[in-house]
Amino acid sequence: MTPPYFLRPNKTVDRFILIEILKNLFKLFNERSYTYYSMAGPFLEDAKLIHQHFPDLPLVSIEKDKEEFKRQKFHKFCSHIKLHEISLEDFLNKFNPRGCQIFWLDFTDLKYTNFTWFGNLLTLVNNNSIVRITLQCSIDDNKRILSLADTKEEKEKIKNEVKSKFEGNYLELISKTVTPELFFDEKEYKILLQEMIQIKAQKSLPTASNRIFQILHSSYYRDTTGMLSVTGIVTDLNNLPNIKKQYKSFPFSNLNWGSPQKIDIPVLSVQERLQIQKHLPSKKKVSTRYLNCLGYRIGYNDTKHTKMMELYSQFHAYYPYFVKVTI
């Protein structure tokens, strides 16, 4: 059984990064002109977090499943969230927004139509709108199929089939020459998917149209399945320098389609966290004292331990506390 959304620590961090992106956004543009749209899921988790930080922001949730929609109604936490029982496709077909939008396309899978909807959305939102797309970014299935092969020839055949199928589905979104091995290499695969999002954005908003999708942040995380999240702003070219200036000093910014930031926070007990917390925040790169503060390793070797402690230092402010409550 996969953990529910609200118990996924890495996704929670990713949500907090969106909050930080919005805090920067509202330094440039008036918060009152924005509306937040998302596929918020049965517990409306992301909408709750947005509401907690920006209580005046109007919220809209899109849900096509009747039963999930009923659950959303049950979990409705404030009066100014509008819940729509509608498919994303139908919603976008009718979408004619005023003001600015913050739209999170929070997909759980990877399909060609996800890119299509993303591209459509970019053309529909108004300037200075934030669009975030989250896609499944997992090579697990490929590895599982490969593990069933006995001989080297069979493995090669499977690798080529995986590549060929992927290229067939997404050929127009691929710019670089891909090797069969790429589909079994998580690091390369996430870069490919991000590049496909970039290409879709360029197709939908070519520079000649004077509006572009400027990437602000991208992250890769895995709670159960690998996910890639890309956040950007739709803007006209005149406004671009101001936006870049605003986000230049943002610690999680990715303004040039660089490699997605990995969110992989270590699993720690509350006691451990309190101990580590004494040494944070740290302006410098993590110190030896910080690394040794527990007196033992949390990774299986020193390198892994250092990496995990670094990641904790980076994201500690957004690390969720999950508490068991008996009602």
């Binding site: 060609y112 067939g168 589905n169 691929i174 970039q198």
Partner: protein
């Protein structure tokens, strides 16, 4: 009134200046093609160079060792090849706007006819260009500058001896000062542009790349995406082989083949195709090749015979059907449009070939209709074959028994004896019905312990379960 009569009598009818205007070539003619097509024109010139220097090409890999390297960035566009260069005695054809006489193009294998491709491509991209070329002892450079473009009185281009010699004979074209609409494509939108360009090259140059030619864009080699058809190793019944037609007409060699690229789609796959584009439709349809260049890729319209003369419109049921038509001959006799990226649909030659395309296509349409209710058996037929490229099909065709064609363009043809079900209508019928998605998932979970089994499998599962119970009664 009096003034008007006066002015009429004063007109002196002098000869009219009908000389061309450079702006026509620079701004107007370039509107006929896209940037991608312009770059394909430059690649066509590379291939024409090989044909010019090597003469008639033979063997499986006649282009081996030949390459075109493209470097594209926000400052310059560069294409460099080792395809023989432009001989000095051809400089007029290469650099003059248009071509006065048909001469060199009579060579089989080339596609240049109008003498406009390279110039139009350069003007499409930018205003500053340096063409350096080396052919045997000739090694020279020609610059096209913004000043030259603006000067209507000067139609001569200055030629200089090349500053550097090349390792192999070839041509380098370096373009800068991009046109306003080109700059973003080579700058902020370059990922998208390169993706589109690669896709076009991988399909339109699939046959040439397959024959050894290398095309590199920004240090990455473009892989070919050739259409491959199922061809049985045995020629007996219950196996799948493509339809093949061969002839020669007015110096043009013609090869037509059509067959299956994959097994027939299930109803679920057809439905998925309608909802979301899948890979299977990508290589369905007809590809037309002229002198190794693809001029029409996977077409599924009336241009290639779909939806006319007894052939139904293309439908997702026909996604396994794919065909290739190859024309080889003097470029002016080939049925291509001026842009070389389309078919001249009214060409007498092409219309006659299209009759054969439809004839072959009908065999496979008939097969899909007859076997759509027994996909498993059909899958077994198709599985027994190899997937072959055009060149491999030609090779294997040598061992086939062809029949003479006594009408139309004459020639010879191989009609495969595709397996047909025996009284299929009496033996099998399909059952189709609609149910709520949640109920289907529930039944799927009940029968297979998973809710994501395809709807057709769930339906079959239900039927088989009840059938078993009915038999046990």
């Amino acid at each position: 009134m009096a003034n008007l009569q006066l002015s009429k009598t004063q007109i002196s009818y002098e000869p009219i200046d009908a000389s061309p205007v450079k702006d026509f070539f620079v701004s107007m003619l370039t509107r006929d093609i896209t940037l991608t097509e312009a770059i394909l024109d430059l690649l066509d010139n590379c291939i024409d160079g090989i044909h010019r220097t090597k003469g008639r090409l033979s063997g499986n890999k006649p282009y081996m060792g030949k390459k075109a390297i493209l470097e594209i960035n926000n400052e310059q566009f560069l294409i460099h090849d080792n395809c023989g260069g432009i001989p000095w005695n051809m400089h007029e054809y290469a650099f003059r706007m248009g071509k006065s006489k048909i001469s060199d193009s009579k060579k089989t294998g080339m596609v240049g006819v109008y003498g406009i491709g390279m110039k139009r491509a350069i003007f499409k991209i930018g205003k500053n260009c340096l063409i350096s070329t080396q052919n045997n002892s000739a090694s020279y450079e020609v610059a096209i500058t913004p000043d030259w473009i603006d000067d209507e009185s000067n139609w001569f281009l200055k030629v200089d001896k090349a500053k550097k010699s090349m390792k192999e004979d070839g041509t380098t074209i370096l373009i800068s000062s991009f046109n306003d609409n080109i700059s973003p494509l080579f700058g902020a939108d370059i990922k998208n542009f390169v993706s589109d360009l690669k896709k076009e090259i991988s399909t339109h140059y699939a046959f040439i790349i397959d024959k050894g030619f290398v095309i590199e864009i920004n240090k990455e080699i473009v892989e070919p995406k050739p259409t491959q058809l199922v061809f049985s190793r045995k020629g007996n019944r219950n196996n799948i082989s493509p339809f093949i037609y061969q002839t020669k007409n007015n110096d043009v060699n013609i090869f037509v083949t059509v067959g299956f690229t994959r097994p027939l789609p299930s109803t679920d796959e057809i439905e998925a195709e309608q909802k979301e584009r899948q890979r299977s439709t990508l290589d369905a349809g007809w590809t037309v090749v002229c002198n190794d260049r693809v001029v029409l890729y996977c077409d599924r319209t009336i241009i290639t015979g779909w939806g006319e003369a007894g052939v139904p419109n293309f439908h997702n049921q026909f996604i396994p059907i794919s065909g290739i038509v190859e024309f080889h001959g003097p470029p002016e006799k080939l049925p291509t449009t001026t842009t070389k990226r389309g078919i001249e649909a009214s060409s007498i030659l092409y219309l006659q070939v299209k009759n054969k395309m439809r004839e072959g296509m009908r065999l496979f349409i008939d097969y899909t209709n007859k076997w759509k209710d027994d996909l498993q058996t059909s899958k077994n037929h198709i599985k027994t074959g190899d997937l072959l490229t055009l060149e491999n099909i030609k090779e294997r065709a040598n061992s086939l028994n062809f029949n003479a064609v006594r009408s139309g363009l004459l020639g010879k043809q191989f009609k495969p004896n595709l397996p047909m079900p025996i009284n299929v209508n009496q033996k099998k019928k399909s059952i189709a019905f609609y149910r709520d998605v949640k109920e289907i998932k529930l039944v799927s979970e009940y029968l297979f312990a998973r809710e994501d089994i395809s709807t057709s499998k769930v339906g079959e599962g239900c039927f088989d379960k009840i059938l078993k119970e009915a038999r046990e009664q």
